[in-house]
């Protein structure tokens, strides 16, 4: 009888745990591999906004055909409720040349209409004085969360795909 009670007690103890409330992070969580930081939101949010993603590219896209080589496949979204937002971007170890926010207009996305539906809304630079399109804000991830990758989302200064890849550039397939 005692053994049964012990077995039942062991069973009940085993049943603790489970999912717990998790306050929104303000710094990179422990046991996290990826990129974290704070985005500051400026400008007027367009009424046609569908969502704003944060994505990372290991290599800056060389053409429109590379636009969708970002990681992770299902990127996190940015809440636009407050003027700042702490994001976490889970990505594998490696070197990332471009960490940016992508604004998406309402509508069904295809590669053909990417120019009208997607905008670069801000990206990570090592300094505010940096005016290069990419390369200065390289982020390294090495089995922990790389923190303080902060940048600004400016809805008044977004850039379409054609800003980086003019329409004349062929779509590589």
């Amino acid at each position: 009888m005692r053994s049964r009670v012990v077995a039942l007690a062991a069973l009940l103890v085993a049943c603790d745990g489970g999912l717990e409330p998790a306050p929104a992070p303000t710094s990179c969580p422990k046991s996290f591999t990826g990129i974290c930081g704070t985005v500051t939101i400026r400008g007027a949010i367009p009424e046609s906004t569908d969502v704003v993603y944060v994505v990372a590219y290991q290599t800056f896209p060389q053409s429109r055909g590379d636009l969708f080589t970002y990681t992770p496949l299902v990127p996190p979204t940015i809440s636009l409720v407050d003027s700042t937002y702490f994001y976490t971007l889970a990505v594998p170890n490696g070197r990332y040349e471009w960490v940016l926010a992508v604004w998406k207009k309402q509508g069904m996305l295809t590669i053909a209409n990417a120019d009208s539906l997607l905008r670069e809304a801000g990206y990570y630079k090592r300094t505010d004085a940096d005016t290069s399109l990419y390369g200065a804000g390289i982020v390294l991830v090495n089995s922990i969360g790389t923190d303080s990758i902060d940048f600004v989302i400016d809805f008044d200064n977004m850039h379409p795909v054609s800003f980086y890849f003019p329409a004349a550039a062929a779509v590589r397939r």
Partner: protein, 723 residues
């Protein structure tokens, strides 16, 4: 003329004698005095036979007057016979008391498409009996099957030894049968577990491993056969009422409503049986507030079944069901910034504000007709036709999706026993699926034509089984693709145990949805892939079953190995920014399936332990390294105990599912192992029975599918009245 008149006079007494009949009736009971249900009562040398009803009573009409040998057979009992003299135009009462047979293995019908003792079947089979279903007081069929050894459900999607994983309802690697009739959807290939009321199911047989040698497509990972209740003699009425409620979130910061979520429902089944006709009709409805936001559900149900005995050895069975569901869709839980998040990274009980109000209307119906004939003990055959229709509309932002699809099926099958040691099963099967109207799957058809054969023969103490099936598949009337699925196996009784070994091939034809889906998911276009090929797998198994302590303790263990290739998965094509289903991966699933049953362990206590160890790997390809197969637990453990005390019984189930090594979509989301304790109590008094179920009694909060909260604690009471 005179000679003819004499002949008529000579024949007249014989004719008069042939019309002289009486009836015989009585009851069949066990040694404890309880009626034995479904016992077969027959007259030797005659085709007259009937089955006992729920209370064990029987009646045979039009029995020739004079001496007859009345014989009774029932599963689990020694057969009895008695010679009685029937008086013309009178009734004769004959009661039987049957003695239980010790060490009798259950009879199953799914593993070989014919009746077999469980210890003679080649693959592993798990049984869920009606008493187990009633004891667990579940309200749906998937809840009833979910605790079977080696079986796990992921958000309604069934896995047998990790067969399917989670593919969001598009394609199941398990074939569902209703009384042996395939019932996977015509468009998506998935399973509607709410097609039948759980109260109509007598038992469930789960055949594990590749079963395509007999069942063709979809039986890649196994087969689940729902066997509905027989229709007893005379008039019967069964009323089932259920009611209950859901616990709230265990943390205040997760609260999402001020009231308690409730559920309730009612079901009625009426039946009448007297040879040659029997019929049953079931009606039911159920409402649930759900345990999370946007989770309300309404369900309506109608099911009917009829039997007509054309002659003593020929029977026509017709059955059908219709079910309608309207439910809100809590597609995934809310993450920060997309609802009233209260400063939390995620809110498991809430949904994204933009998804509030998303709902689905789903109607489904099936109808079958089966003619079966057993002209002699050595030969039997059946022919069946079936029709399954599904019709759903997802009402969601920014656009609605809908599909109306049919699946028509037909089969002829013969079973021959050429001699005592051999059995041969042969048959042919056709299936025709179409998408009648759909904005996401287009309008398409898929035909399947198949022939199969399987033979079993004795070799000393061993019994060997060899068989194969060839399937021809055609999409939209195009060219035929042939798939051959062989199976080889054997059983060898040794002492008190039985060894079994088998190897077979399974396949699954891509569903019309996987081939032709054209829609948008999260704003990304999903494009069709008409060139998808069937996925396939080889399964090998070595098992052993043995009884101990006078058969009170039984152990069944099986080692299994599955090699799968061309598995169909959604792939994001980054150069096109589109998603497409492709034949992509190879996988290996290796493991151990173990069940130990002690019934009874003591005079009042019965216990079972079921454990599955699974090593599931996606094998390396030219473009990707080897990795864990998503949504497969390494360990799956179920412990059950039942304590009987007169009319009252208490019981508990504990299910442990180890944390998935890998999931898809949201790999970095928090996830935990699942530890779920269910408690139950029941009371039976005469025609009334009450069952109390506290599922997830510890209110353990977990998810198996990304961002989808698994059921929280629920208390439900089911009261059944049988007349």
């Amino acid at each position: 003329m005179k000679r003819r008149g004499l002949l008529l006079l000579a024949l007249l007494p014989a004719a008069l004698h042939a019309q002289a009949t009486g009836s015989v009736y009585g009851a069949v009971r066990d040694t404890a005095g309880h009626g034995v249900r479904s016992a077969s009562v027959s007259i030797t040398g005659s085709r007259l036979r009937t089955n006992t009803g729920n209370t064990g009573v029987y009646r045979l009409e039009a029995v020739p007057a004079g001496p007859i040998t009345l014989q009774v057979q029932a599963l689990g009992f020694q057969p009895e016979s008695v010679v009685v003299t029937i008086t013309a135009n009178d009734s004769t009462r004959v009661d039987f008391t049957l003695r239980a047979v010790q060490n009798l293995a259950p009879i199953v019908v799914t593993a070989g498409k014919r009746q077999q003792s469980l210890q003679d079947v080649v693959p592993s089979v798990a049984l869920v009996t009606d008493s187990a279903i009633a004891r667990r007081a579940v309200n749906t069929i998937d809840e009833a099957v979910d605790r079977a050894p080696g079986v796990q459900f992921l958000n309604g999607q069934v896995n047998i030894r990790g067969s399917t994983g989670y593919v969001q309802g598009l394609g199941s690697r398990v074939l569902l049968l209703v009384d042996g009739v395939p019932a996977n959807q015509g468009d998506r290939g998935g399973i509607n577990w709410d097609l039948l009321p759980v109260d109509n199911v007598e038992r469930v047989e789960v055949v594990k491993g590749a079963g395509s040698a007999l069942y063709g497509s979809a039986a890649l990972g196994g087969v689940v056969n729902l066997i509905t209740r027989g229709i007893p003699d005379d008039a019967h009425l069964r009323v089932r009422l259920i009611g209950g409620g859901f616990a709230g979130p265990p943390h205040d910061v997760w609260k999402f409503r001020t009231s308690t979520g409730l559920e309730g429902g009612a079901g009625v089944t009426a039946s009448w049986g007297r040879d040659p006709f029997r019929g049953a009709l079931s009606l039911g409805t159920q409402h649930s507030d759900g345990y999370r936001q946007n989770d309300e559900r309404d369900h309506w149900q109608l099911a009917a079944k009829g039997q007509y005995r054309l002659d003593p050895v020929t029977r026509l069975d017709v059955s059908g069901a219709w079910a309608s569901d309207q439910y809100l869709v809590p597609l995934s839980w809310c993450v920060r910034g997309h609802c009233d998040d209260r400063g939390q990274a995620y809110q498991p009980f809430m949904v994204d504000t933009s998804g509030l109000g998303d709902h689905t209307r789903s109607n489904k119906a099936y109808a079958t007709a089966v003619v079966s004939r057993e002209p002699s003990p050595a030969v039997s055959w059946l022919a069946r036709v079936s029709w399954l229709r599904t019709d759903f509309t997802d009402y969601q932002s920014p656009r609605n999706d809908f599909s109306i699809a049919n699946r028509f099926g037909g089969e002829v099958r013969g079973v021959v026993h050429p001699d005592h040691g051999r059995v041969v099963t042969v048959g042919g099967e056709v299936a025709y699926s179409d998408v009648l109207r759909s904005d996401i799957f287009g309008v398409h058809t898929q035909a399947e034509y198949a022939a199969y054969g399987e033979g079993e023969h004795g070799l000393g103490a061993a019994r060997l089984t060899t068989g194969a099936r060839i399937d021809f598949l055609a999409v939209d009337g195009g060219g035929l693709t042939a798939v051959v699925s062989p199976r080889l196996g054997g059983v060898l009784p040794v002492g008190r145990g039985v060894w079994r070994a088998s190897m077979g091939r399974g396949f699954r034809a891509p569903s019309l949805a996987e081939q032709f889906v054209s829609t948008f998911v999260s704003g990304i276009r999903v494009i069709p892939n008409p060139s998808l090929r069937p996925e396939e797998a080889w399964t090998a198994e070595l098992g052993h079953a043995r009884g101990f302590a006078g058969e009170r303790v039984r152990i069944d263990a099986a080692l299994f190995w599955t090699e799968a290739r061309r598995l169909i998965e959604p792939v994001f094509i980054d150069t096109l920014a589109e998603i497409q289903f492709q034949n992509l991966s190879r996988a290996r699933l290796v493991g151990l399936d173990l069940s130990v049953t002690a019934a009874p362990l003591t005079s009042r206590l019965s216990t079972t332990l079921a454990y599955t160890f699974l090593y599931a790997r996606e094998l390396a390809t030219d473009t990707s390294p080897a990795r864990a197969l998503a949504f497969r637990p390494r360990h799956l453990l179920t412990l059950s105990a039942d304590y009987a005390l007169g009319a009252t019984a208490l019981g508990a189930d504990f299910r442990y599912t180890s944390r998935f090594e890998r999931v898809e979509l949201y790999e970095t989301d928090p996830r935990v192992s699942a530890k779920v304790l269910d408690l139950r109590a029941s009371w039976t008094g005469g025609s009334l029975a009450a069952h109390l179920l506290v599922s997830n009694a510890l209110n353990y909060i977990y998810n198996l599918v990304p961002r989808t909260l698994a059921p929280v604690r629920a208390v439900s009471v089911a009261v059944t009245w049988t007349h």
